[in-house]
């Protein structure tokens, strides 16, 4: 089980959280101008990175808030946690 550090509540076990997938996917500013391929990319295409990956978590059974994390998907080690809207902090490579 992962130990996840909620930026609001501190270190908690994984079962308190739900996963939110890839981070920093911005909703299109002008949705009406997107063509089918751009919608496909937004809705379905994910980086699915093998390595360092920025992702969202939600502290569903705690404060209820979304936040971001950086995790190495080849080891499941977390490198950083930060609030939604912030840029990823520097983390040890």
């Amino acid at each position: 089980m992962l130990l996840i550090v909620c930026p609001y509540c501190g270190k908690r076990p994984e079962i308190e959280f739900t996963y939110g997938g890839q981070a920093h996917l911005a909703r299109p500013v002008k949705p009406a101008e997107l063509d089918d391929q751009a919608w496909t990319d937004f809705l379905y295409m994910r980086a699915n990175t093998k390595g360092v990956y920025a992702e969202r978590w939600r502290h569903a059974r705690g404060c209820g808030r979304f936040f971001n994390a950086v995790r190495d998907t080849t080891t499941d080690q977390f490198l950083a946690f930060y609030k939604t809207g912030e840029r990823p902090p520097k983390y040890p490579k």
């Binding site: 959280f17 809705l43 994910r46 992702e55």
Partner: protein
């Protein structure tokens, strides 16, 4: 090279001479400079595709590249369940194509894959389950796929260890039974295809990781860079399960895939007690008994994407909670081993077996939590797609473009994932 054939007579003859003189089942091939077709990924789907390319499409200068050892990925990590009771016409056609091939696969390959159509029973625990399963039963029968509705007493008759009392959190309200479904020996599938493909001249190259995909001026595939040198080929089929999006990115192709850990576990071996396969998608329990006697139990996927081939213990515990309620007499059994595989999940839980935007590059992926059952059928239509540069009618709907064009095959019969 001439191939020893397996038969009862051969077994007796070798047995009398101390089992000496059995051949190696396939050659340890060195990579050649060029092939007519290369399959990336030496699991059941990849080895099978190479076999059908050689057998049915006359291509014999073929290599299968595997970064580890053959059958060491999801082919060796699944719970070996075979069924075709999928809702939609497209899925029913694909999975039933596979079940029909399972029925004769041992004879086809002259290798005992231990296909055992012992019946797959899917439990209903809610009113919604009952409605959905009855809809599946009717849809399946319209598609010529056997599936029947059982009342709880009939379910218990089919699987005596099942608890149908109403004293559990999610009592059994009925079940859908596919009698033609069952299990097979997963390792034997990889080995059988490897042996049969090798006999047709296919080079099976292990410890060979693809690190780059070279393309010509027109954008078509020209060669693969690998950890064992450059290998030229104009046709490349990728069948790399959880790592497919990593391989395809080498050619600049994006896929709607996310890779999740999926876990399974086995118990200590016991005498035969469990006559069939029982699945409960609602409370996440998937169980059968292997011929060795172990209870083989499938758990759900972990919450997050990962490539670690391991998952969290609470996922297994959750499944065991359900197993212990459904089968109270297993409560004191010990679990021997657990492990994880990395499954590539598509947004609609249906696979992709298709051409890619890159000429000469083909992909067979997105099998998610249920690829083993499809091994022969998937391999068969993938070989067709590679050989003819066009899909077989069965896999024609399973394109990458369906996500752009809105033709999703939103298959809620897939196991172990939330819908």
């Amino acid at each position: 090279m001439s191939r020893q054939s397996f038969s009862a007579l051969a077994l007796i003859r070798r047995g009398l001479s101390g089992h000496l003189g059995w051949q190696k089942q396939w050659r340890k091939a060195e990579p050649k400079a060029a092939y007519d077709a290369v399959i990336v990924g030496g699991g059941g789907h990849g080895l099978g595709a190479a076999y059908y390319l050689a057998k049915e499409h006359g291509l014999t200068n073929i290599a299968v590249l595997e970064k580890g050892w053959i059958g060491g990925g999801n082919t060796g990590r699944n719970t070996t369940i075979i069924r075709s009771n999928y809702l939609f016409n497209e899925s029913a056609a694909l999975y039933d194509h596979s079940v029909k091939m399972w029925e004769t696969l041992s004879q086809e390959l002259n290798y005992n894959v231990m296909f055992s159509p012992r019946g797959v029973m899917m439990l209903a625990h809610t009113v919604h389950d009952i409605q959905v399963f009855k809809r599946h039963v009717h849809a399946n029968r319209c598609n010529g796929v056997d599936n029947e509705w059982l009342e709880p007493e009939q379910a218990k008759e089919f699987c005596p260890p099942l608890n149908i009392e109403d004293n559990i959190r999610y009592p059994v309200l009925g079940a859908a039974l596919q009698r033609r479904g069952g299990t097979a020996r997963h390792d034997a599938v990889a080995w059988g295809y490897a042996r049969a493909a090798d006999a047709l001249g296919v080079d099976i190259i292990e410890n060979c990781e693809v690190t780059g995909i070279k393309r010509d001026e027109g954008g078509a595939v020209r060669a693969l860079e690998t950890s064992r040198g450059l290998i030229r080929s104009r046709k490349v089929g990728v069948s790399a399960a959880g790592n497919t999006s990593v391989v395809l990115r080498l050619a600049g192709v994006r896929l709607p895939l996310e890779s999740y850990p999926l876990q399974a576990l086995v118990s200590e071996p016991i005498k035969p007690i469990f006559p069939c396969v029982v699945m409960s998608n609602t409370i996440h329990a998937y169980i059968s008994q292997s011929d060795k006697g172990e209870l083989v139990i499938g758990a759900g996927t972990d919450a997050y994407t990962s490539y670690t081939q391991r998952g969290a213990l609470h996922i297994n515990t959750h499944t065991l909670d359900a197993i212990c309620e459904l089968f109270p007499n297993f409560r004191r059994m010990r679990m021997l081993r657990n492990w994880g595989g990395i499954v590539d999940v598509t947004p609609d839980r249906s696979p992709i077996i298709a051409k890619t935007p890159v000429p000469g590059l083909y992909v067979n992926c997105g099998w998610g939590t249920g690829g083993f059952k499809a091994t022969p059928g998937s391999a068969h239509v993938f070989a067709w797609t590679i050989a003819r540069d066009e899909p077989h009618p069965i896999n024609a709907p399973f394109t990458i473009e369906r996500f752009r064009d809105g033709y999703l095959i939103d298959e809620a019969a897939a196991a172990a994932v939330a819908h």
